[in-house]
């Protein structure tokens, strides 16, 4: 299992990766900038994502909306920002490839001359509405913010979510945009993948034609910050929900670091899917919870592992807390069964295979090549990535789980407004806004 590719670097530092696959007359363009919300400063949060919006508002040589010419050419396109990176992609019919490269290169090279205070104001309003829609007005929508705020100290770059704080977004200024662009949006901090109906020579030639003229820009220093969590912190958040939900979160290995794949497997066997341990005991047998879930959220600098469960009506979160703790302890003591390992591997293999089905978009082959290139400097890492899962044994799972699922953790009780008594005992209320 692999994604064949070739790679080169332009003189300005832009990484160019080409993957040829001729089954359909389409090409996926996928451009990563190695910047995300972890490059922001406290009091200035939400900026990387707001900036992503501005990238769709026109650049010097085409100062109208970014979508129009590309949709007219039959493209699908989008972009996204997370803590570690910002990505932009187009999937175009082959004849529209140059158009997509022209558009991507124009906004990489010439965004600022077209940036006006009006565009800035407008997109700030759009982002504030995105925040209302996806966080403030959504049940349990503020849980993530409360969790990361408790997991990381206030000056740690993972202390805030990528969407940022509303007051920081209100305070953002046009000058911040300009400085941000100069520092992070240039070829040396970017990686371009072309995948699909194209060969290496053509891909490299076209990348040169459109991106060579853009100056390289300053090297971006990696963000490095470590932190630990020694004790359990119990926090409480009230929200407009009917059923309370419990979240337990621990620091865990960074993306691709030792133990990351193992924790992914541990999260799955504990609480993902109807064959998982917590589903079986909490939902199926005891019926104290209405759903359960777990995730190893691995990120570039550090990960965090989370288990969550929503209480069935009439049950308080202390009951869930004790039941989860019992299951986790049992797992740490006995380890996984051979059947659980076998299941985890089958699921990992199916998951990896499924990801090879699309060229473009979020999570397609072009996005994966860029992830491996930007985070590991190894676009061809896919086979080794799967190998990380294949190497897992009952012993390595339990060993890593013992390191991660210890006493230092955050326990968040999210309860219906005015029902603080449903929280785990000893929780103190926190504010998120």
């Amino acid at each position: 299992m692999d994604i064949p590719y070739s790679q080169c670097f332009l003189d300005n530092g832009l990484r160019v990766i080409v993957h040829e696959s001729r089954s359909l007359p389409i090409v996926a363009v996928n451009l990563w900038y190695h910047v995300g919300s972890k490059n922001e400063q406290p009091g200035r949060t939400g900026f990387a994502h707001l900036f992503e919006h501005l990238m769709f508002e026109g650049s010097k040589h085409y100062d109208r909306g970014y979508f129009h010419p590309l949709q007219e050419a039959g493209a699908a396109l989008n972009g996204s920002t997370n803590a570690d990176r910002t990505n932009y992609w187009e999937v175009v019919p082959t004849p529209a490839l140059e158009l997509a490269l022209w558009m991507e290169s124009d906004r990489m090279g010439y965004l600022l001359p077209a940036l006006t205070p009006e565009k800035f104001q407008n997109q700030r309003d759009v982002v504030l509405n995105e925040r209302r829609q996806n966080y403030e007005n959504r049940p349990y929508g503020m849980a993530g913010m409360a969790l990361v705020a408790a997991l990381y100290p206030s000056d740690h770059p993972y202390h805030w979510m990528t969407i940022g704080a509303a007051e920081d977004l209100q305070a953002a200024a046009l000058e911040d945009v300009q400085a941000f662009f100069r520092r992070y949006y240039h070829p040396r901090n970017a990686s371009l993948v072309l995948a699909g109906d194209i060969d290496r020579d053509e891909g490299v030639q076209l990348a040169r034609k459109y991106f060579d003229e853009i100056p390289g820009g300053p090297e971006v220093e990696p963000v490095v910050r470590t932190t630990t969590l020694r004790d359990e912190s119990r926090i409480l958040l009230e929200d407009r929900v009917e059923l309370p939900r419990l979240y337990m979160a621990w620091h865990s290995p960074a993306m691709f670091a030792a133990g990351d794949a193992e924790m992914d497997l541990v999260a799955d066997l504990l609480a993902n899917g109807k064959s998982s341990r917590l589903y079986r005991t909490l939902v199926y047998e005891r019926r104290v919870a209405t759903d359960v879930g777990a995730a190893q959220n691995s990120r570039e600098m550090a990960g965090w592992c989370q288990i969550s469960a929503t209480a069935a009506p009439g049950h308080a979160l202390t009951e869930l807390y004790e039941a989860i703790e019992l299951e986790v302890d049992r797992f740490l003591h006995d380890g996984p069964t051979e059947a659980e390992i076998e299941r985890g591997l089958a699921q990992a293999e199916a998951h990896f295979m499924g990801r090879l089905q699309t060229l473009g978009g979020f999570g397609g082959k072009s996005d994966q090549l860029n992830a491996y290139a930007v985070f590991l400097n190894d676009p061809g890492y896919l086979a080794s990535d799967l190998e990380r899962y294949r190497r897992a044994t009952p012993a390595t799972l339990v060993e890593n789980a013992r390191l991660v699922l210890g006493p230092g953790r955050v326990v968040l009780s999210l309860v219906p407004s005015g029902r603080a008594e449903l929280a785990v005992a000893g929780s103190h209320p926190v504010e998120v806004s």
Binding site: N129, N137, Q205, Y284
Partner: protein
């Protein structure tokens, strides 16, 4: 090679031809239709069973029965408990996807091709021989009741439910698939068994398989897996398959309704009316019209409400094309203080496209290009291809439908779009539904001429 010419955008020359892969069809002895696309680029197979009955086939007294029945399929079979079934799927790295829509139930499974035989066997056990034990029905019923409780907090779900209820009162499309609390409590195991028996008929269903398998081998494996399924075509089905073809209640005036949500950060909006069935001859012109009005990022509605006004993260329109007459719908979520202004803007866009700002040639070309030029990317994965086949089955479309689609879109002109718009868009009959903070909205809503709002209490 010289550098880029920044004085103009590169031209896009020619549209690469697209051909939909051949569909290999056969029929099993008990009547089950089998449609296959051989696609061997990856060792994967996607299965999709199309059962032409969904929530619109719910008995009037039991809204939600189709969906509960669907949910019960992977909750035990033969000697296997629910946990055993989930475990068996997990061991081959797969899980059963069950989707109950208004007109159909789709049951899907994607497996590595080396597990196809096991996957098919489990799949058939779930579809043909589910245990439907009382204890399992009770357990799943309780989970769905809990889900209903949670949906009360989810503004988009509250809006969808209230909107369909008001628009389709007394019609099979008037409830969401999950149904109502009262009906869920009332459903018995016998109801679930009867529904399953009357809907899950081999003579009515079609199994689709797309991926790394040869059609003859597939037919053999399917025959083995589904061997216990008996043909019952002589029995009259107890459940109407096409109840939704009945006309929905007529509506002759504009209506405004509010569901109150205390201190909501945004208002969730639904504006629309009953429109046309998928079988309308105006289907293609309506697709084009919708692209211009609210079907893509650069549509009039999104550019107005998001890119010009900054009221919302996004706004869109759609014709929900079903076997019966589905709704036309404008939907968005806007910050509370601009709710009335957003509703007015939405109406203005509608009136203009019907009046003094009809779809222009330029907009028409943009919409047609957007629909046709990137068409191939809709058929990249085995699941996309399987779903494309399901559309052919559900809507009785010819095998060459996808090959001809781009040509048919290119034939649309501004006159046919204008005709389709005036036949199928009726601003004077729109229902406007708002889920939002009522005290904060009331005074501004009084000014927009939709009359006194009906205040709804969410179910």
């Amino acid at each position: 090679m010289k550098g880029a010419d920044r004085s103009r955008l590169p031209e896009v020359h020619g549209d690469p031809p697209f051909t939909f892969p051949p569909i290999l069809k056969s029929r099993q002895p008990h009547g089950l239709g089998l449609w296959c696309i051989e696609e061997s680029s990856l060792p994967l197979v996607s299965l999709l069973l199309v059962v032409p009955a969904g929530s619109a086939s719910d008995p009037d007294r039991l809204p939600g029965l189709a969906s509960l029945t669907g949910d019960m399929l992977d909750e035990g079979s033969g000697t296997r408990s629910a946990i055993d079934v989930h475990d068996a799927f997990a061991r081959i790295g797969a899980h059963l996807e069950i989707e109950v829509a208004a007109d159909t139930t789709l049951i899907g499974l994607t497996v590595l091709s080396r597990y196809l035989r096991q996957g098919l066997s489990l799949f058939a056990d779930c579809v043909v021989r589910p245990s439907l034990r009382e204890a399992d029905v009770d357990r799943v019923r309780q989970l769905r009741l809990n889900r209903l409780v949670q949906l009360r907090d989810l503004a988009p779900a509250v809006a969808d439910r209230a909107f369909m209820q008001m628009l389709y009162e007394g019609h099979p499309y008037g409830h969401l698939a999950i149904g109502t609390e009262a009906a869920l409590r009332e459903m018995s195991v016998a109801d679930v068994m009867a529904f399953h028996a009357s809907v899950c008929l081999p003579s009515r269903a079609t199994l689709i398989a797309v991926g790394d398998v040869k059609a003859p081998m597939l037919a053999e494996m399917v025959e083995e897996a589904f061997s216990g399924w008996t043909r019952r075509e002589d029995e009259a089905p107890e459940v109407g398959f096409d109840r939704a073809l009945a006309d929905p209640p007529p509506s002759s005036s504009r209506r405004l309704a509010i569901v109150h949500r205390t201190a909501a950060a945004q208002s969730e909006l639904r504006i629309g009316h009953v429109a046309v069935a998928r079988s309308t001859p105006d289907y293609i012109p309506l697709l084009v019209l919708n692209m211009v009005l609210g079907g893509q990022f650069v549509s009039r509605l999104n550019l107005k409400l998001r890119e010009e006004k900054g009221y919302t993260y996004g706004a869109r329109t759609s014709f929900d094309f079903r076997r019966g007459r589905g709704p036309f719908l404008m939907q968005t979520s806007v910050q509370t203080q601009v709710t009335a202004a957003a509703v007015q803007d939405a109406f203005t866009e509608l009136q203009q496209v019907l009046g003094d700002r009809p779809v222009t040639t330029h907009e028409l070309e943009l919409a047609k290009s957007a629909l046709t030029r990137g068409y191939a990317r809709n058929f990249e994965t085995t699941e996309q291809l399987a779903r494309a086949l399901a559309q052919l089955i559900v809507h009785d479309l010819p095998d060459h439908y996808y090959d001809q689609f781009p040509t048919r879109v290119r034939e649309v002109d501004t006159a046919s779009v204008a005709r389709a718009a005036s036949s199928h868009l009726h601003p004077e009959r729109m229902l406007t539904l708002i889920v939002g903070d009522r005290p904060a909205l009331e005074s501004s809503l009084a000014s927009i001429g939709l009359g006194e709002p009906a205040v709804l209490v969410p179910a």
